[in-house]
Amino acid sequence: MALQNVCGLQHPPLFPEWSAPLSQSFMPEESTPLFGGGVQHGGAFSARLPGRGALSPLEFYMPISEYLTQSPINFGQISLSSAPKNLLNNNIDIIHPSMPCISLPPPTPCSISPSVPLPFTLSHGTTTLGFAFQGGVIAAADTRSSCAGQVACPNAPKVLPIHSHLVGTTSGTSADCALWKRILSRELRLYQLRHHRRLSTGGAAKLLSHMLHPFKGTELCVAATLCGWDGGGEKDENHAITQVTESDSSSQSAAVCKSKSQQVVTARSGMCGPRVVYVCSDGLRLQGELFSVGSGSPYAYSILDSGVHWGMSAQEAACVAREAVYRATHRDAYSGNNVDLYHVTAEGWRRRERENLKDEYYREKEKERKRVAERKNEKKGV
């Protein structure tokens, strides 16, 4: 798909793996006869950026209604044979009777399909946090993935790198978060290829927010904090997402803006530096210095409020983030197991070793015990 887009193909043929683009200019006759009989399971959806020729405003792929009735996972869905059809579909029916029915995008996806009753209530328990300081951005999260009161996975990664200088913390439904993070990565990569520079964190947040907007009012639940470093220089395509292990984390942004660039593009002034933006599937998009999301967030907030200040060192920042997640996991039942910590600087993101908080708890108890014993000995000695 990426290759096609870059090559500027105006009307990509329908592929069975992806759903059909719902553009106005959909030309049935250009579709390849790749469909056998019946319906493909192309029920995935993705979005396209503007800029593909004069074509389109932001276009959104909607789930093909047929997919929902034919899906092997039936959560008690009702028949969708009454889904609205339009003139385009009539055309398709004539030419390719085996093609899936595609509805034009209505204002919200709710009118395509009635909301599917869930097999169980979703719980959104986690602790994630992100904050900016002079040395970059710290993003941290626990690793417990809970489902209806049980721990589904004790090692779920909740901080997902999106590209070399942007990580996103995820909270809400794990499936939704993982999918939308991948979609966002794809779109940002396309942007980078087309425009020879990375999209800023604010831009990425806006993009994500607009992509999520059609699903407002549905069961989609994504609450992400995008933490990134907006650089000024151009990053060439060979700049892979590597783990920079030994780089100095407190480098100044001014120096890095000018480094490592092949084709320098004039950066917008004042746009360099660490950035934290919160995006939520309700449509909320907030820029700030410090965010914490999830059921454990109140516990983390108070520690972050007291410990975070702009001038702190990277070491201190990592400590505060770790402590905040640790305290939240101590009190919140839906957070726990390990803590993941990412530090984003001008050179990219760097990941800290995943730490098990149970060990931390026992270490602290041990420290406390030792200190009380010491004091007792001191008193005895005096």
Partner: protein
């Protein structure tokens, strides 16, 4: 009434308080307008014919009127080597309206017992004053102070007597008795828990983070004061329903002292120097 109790005067409790009006002996009878510990039947003057539980159900269900009792406050208390620290905020909210920024949420039961209040202000004040009465009676009858455990149990039993009738109270009873510093959490459900540290109200989670992280069993007294202040200050910073001033008390062996009453905005400015 206390004198009647102490002198052992017996009176027959009537099932229906309304019928007592007009009797000859009314001036001797303990009007059952408040709870009397020791009687077999409950004597709270509920209006005749009204069942509180069904009335309240109609208030809280979706198709009826919805009365949403918010526990808008933050209170915290923790035990440490040198006693018990009690810190509370001072905001009273009625829905989204701030009714007062200067409410006293700690009731001084007696010089060696403190009770905090969260939940419905009316319920807390009433029942804790009742508890104060019972503690005083205990002291008069038994010539020694009531233990913290017994005081919290009295309050707990009062709550259990009206369970399901819509009381809303989350309180911590703190004191120093023969066993040392005592801290109990008592709830309108009848929960009674002894512990080292509690925090109640909707700002409690913010306070927990701070106190968990800063607590050391062998803290000095000044450190403990600072921890209590910080806990409330950060909770008021993030929670909309908490605010006003921090009222800080220290329960020592020979009674409690009121340490300070500081405005939270000043505290927050002090703590968050780097952010502003």
């Amino acid at each position: 009434m206390a004198l009647l109790d102490v002198s052992g005067y017996k009176y027959r409790p009537r099932p229906n308080s309304a019928s007592q009006f007009g009797f000859k002996q009314t001036h001797f009878l303990d009007r059952s307008i408040h709870y009397s510990f020791g009687t077999k039947c409950q004597e709270f003057a509920v209006p005749v014919g009204v069942d509180p539980s069904t009335f309240l159900k109609s208030c809280s269900c979706e198709d009826g009127v919805s009365i949403d009792l918010n526990h808008g406050t933050t209170t915290l208390a923790f035990k440490f080597r040198h006693g018990v620290i009690v810190a509370v905020d001072s905001r009273a909210s009625a829905g989204k309206y701030i009714a007062s920024q200067d409410v006293d949420k700690v009731i001084e039961i007696n010089p060696y017992l403190l009770g905090t209040m969260s939940g419905s202000a009316a319920d807390c004040q009433y029942w804790e004053r009742l508890l104060a009465k019972e503690c005083r009676l205990y002291k008069l009858r038994n010539k020694e102070r009531i233990s913290v455990s017994a005081a919290s149990k009295l309050l707990c039993n009062m709550m259990l007597g009206y369970r399901g009738m819509g009381l809303s109270m989350g309180s911590m009873i703190c004191g120093w008795d023969k066993q040392g510093p005592g801290l109990y959490y008592v709830d309108d459900n009848g929960t009674r828990l002894s512990g080292r540290m509690f925090s109640t109200g909707c700002g409690n989670s913010f306070a927990y983070g701070i106190v968990d992280s800063g607590y050391r069993e062998d803290m000095t007294v000044e450190e403990a004061y600072e921890l209590g202040r910080r806990g409330i200050a950060h909770a008021t910073h993030r929670d909309a329903y908490s605010g006003g001033v921090v009222n800080l008390y220290h329960m020592q062996e020979d009674g409690w002292i009121k340490v300070c009453k500081e405005d939270v905005s000043e505290l927050i400015h002090r703590y968050k120097k780097g952010m502003f």
